[in-house]
Amino acid sequence: MERSIKMKIIVSLFLLLMLNTASAQNKVSLPKAFAESYAYEQKYEYLKAIESIKKVYKTDSYEMNLRLGWLYYQAKNYKESLNYYNKAIMILPLSIEAKLGYAFPAYAMGNKELVIKKYKEILAIDPNNYYGNYRLGSLYFERQDYQEANRHFDKLINLYPFDYDVMIMSAWTYFRLNKLREAKVLFNKALLNRPDDVSASEGLSLIK
């Protein structure tokens, strides 16, 4: 009887020790796992980078899901990328970075309706978001919906008046809308930011 109690105590201690070891391993390996994944990513070894995160993966970790979303996107596995970005969004629904990330694989898949929807969600949370407005404006520009594109670039040109990307997109949008005076001003401003810019020079030559 006494021997049996002793044995039970030994076993319990052994189990406790094992659990503590496993937990410690996780705690220790988390930064290491991320560091490892960054190292692999720099070497374009995306599957290994994914594996590094997967070793310590927890379903409810926003950071891990976000990281996996990005790595799968880099590995061109867009289906999985969307899956992990979706998980990240579900964990933190107001996360703009996860939504911006989600738009990458969705765009690569060609699912532009989904991309537009996601950027609109971003702008519903943060109406002045730079990336949300810029990328949505660019998508509308691509679709030749210049009125709608102009709505977004116009907002950005007021928030970032000397940002080259905003100036040049806004200039081309005005050009397509046949508002040549506005386009000319913006092409000239873009040249102040990048004096040798080919796109701005081309725009000006078309106006003259």
Partner: protein
């Protein structure tokens, strides 16, 4: 003690296994995106279709895969299949010019031009302008030809008793038919189909009144018809096509008599003008491999009024017009003894640019309409069946030639009166051969 140790070992094993999860997403999967892109560039449509289907089955149901799979099916001339993938593709990227253009042609090549026009809104201005230009072009069509029949020979042999007081026969001699039409898309959702047709039917009326008089005279029935039908595309599946047909029938008087007894037997003059009107329409519901239609028309023909309802199903088993089948059935309210008539048509591609369409119709076609009132069977003799063939040859993208042959069995009719003065009738079958040639010009 042993069981305790076993449990510990099991726990250790499980813990170790849990630390190394097997991740299915890391197992090598084909890179469907790259493979399909490569096959697309190689224009290897067979392989692309197979790989695309596999990718979609594996859950890679995104725009690029859908559109490439659709393109493969399109280039393999499986237009209905292509439409299925391309419809999915444009739900993921509604404004993509390439997907919309392929879908536009997939619809067009399966006879759904009206639905194709619905896609024009999704295209860029330049592409929309390019396709609209072709879509809005008018189509002119002309069809003409003679009608021959055996009526004159047959009706002379209708067995009637020798003891006749009076007998009367109408025989068809020959006829000529002419149709000219114009289809014009008006805007994106409306197409106007207008046509005018004329038939010249030569007949003979002969009467014999025993001991009194014997009269015989040729006469002509001239019928001029006007048809207008605007087809309205409600959405990419539903097409509403109202139709109106107006026909003026002029029957010439073959002979007359001043004799009072003869007048009594001849009855009212037959030379008369009729204004006939058909009003109705049909609704078509189209899917990629089949379409169903239902129609109803009110007919006012030769002073008789009636209703006709029809239903038909068209099937494209290969997903293109290389093989198609149409089954239709119609109900005519005023024909109590034989209210139904049915038509079965099968069309298929024979050689390059040539199609053959065969059809059989069973039932009485007296005062009925077909093809949404594009055809009015204003006939006084009962028909039993009709066999028809249509040879279609596409001369080029603008001109199409057609040759139609129809064979009909009709009933010839003789009225007679014996000594009891009761008017009786006798029937005999005769055969009608209609041969028409046509040309369709799709202006480009």
């Amino acid at each position: 003690m042993r069981s305790l140790l076993t449990s510990i070992l099991l726990l250790v094993t499980l813990t170790l296994t849990a630390q190394k999860p097997i991740d299915s997403t890391l197992i090598h999967e084909p890179d469907y995106d790259s493979i399909t892109l490569q096959l697309y560039h190689q224009q290897n449509w067979d392989s692309l279709l197979i790989t695309g289907k596999k990718a979609l089955k594996a859950g890679y149901d995104y725009f690029n895969i859908q559109v490439r799979t659709g393109a493969a099916a399109y280039h393999l001339r499986k237009y209905s299949l292509a439409a299925r993938y391309l419809e999915e593709a444009i739900t993921l990227n509604s404004k993509d010019d390439y997907a919309n253009e392929l879908l536009f042609y997939a619809y067009t090549f399966t006879g759904r031009s009206a639905q194709a026009a619905h896609l024009l809104d999704h295209l860029s201005k330049a592409k929309s302008r390019e396709l609209t230009k072709n879509y809005r072009n008018p189509t002119f069509y002309l069809e003409a030809g003679p009608v021959f029949n055996t009526d004159a020979k047959i009706s002379g042999h209708i067995p009637v008793p020798d003891s006749l007081l009076f007998n009367e026969q109408y025989t068809e001699q020959n006829a000529f038919y002419l149709l000219a039409g114009w289809k014009q898309p008006v805007g994106k959702y409306l197409t106007l189909n207008t046509a005018v047709s004329h038939i010249n039917l030569n007949k003979n009326r002969s009467t014999n009144i025993r001991y009194v008089d014997s009269l015989s005279g040729d006469f002509t029935v001239k019928q001029t018809e006007f048809y207008i039908s605007p087809s309205v595309c409600l959405n990419k599946r539903v097409l509403l096509i109202p139709a109106l047909r107006y026909a003026v029938t002029n029957v010439a008087e073959p002979f007359s008599s001043d004799d009072s007894i003869t007048k009594l037997y001849l009855g009212s003059p037959i030379g008369i003008k009729y204004n006939n009107l058909v009003v109705g329409g049909e609704i078509i519901y189209a899917r990629n491999y089949w379409q169903a239609s239902m129609g109803a028309w009110h007919l006012s023909i030769n002073d008789d009024r009636s209703m006709q309802v029809s239903a038909s199903v068209m099937v494209l088993p290969l997903g293109n017009l290389d093989l198609y089948s149409t089954t239709g059935v119609s109900f005519k309210s005023d024909q109590k003894s034989q209210p139904l008539f049915a038509t079965q048509t099968i069309g298929f591609k024979t050689f390059n640019r040539t199609w053959l369409e065969l059809s059989a119709t069973k039932g009485n076609l007296v005062n009925t309409v077909e093809l949404n009132a594009q055809l009015l069977n204003n006939q006084v003799v009962k028909s039993n069946y009709r066999l028809a063939s249509l040879l279609i040859f596409d001369l080029n993208t603008q001109f199409r030639l057609t040759l139609r042959y129809q064979f009909m069995e009709n009933e010839a009719l003789t009225y007679f009166t014996e000594s009891d003065n009761a008017v009786q009738s006798a029937y005999s079958n005769y055969y009608k051969h209609i041969i028409t040639g046509g040309v369709t010009w799709n202006v480009r």
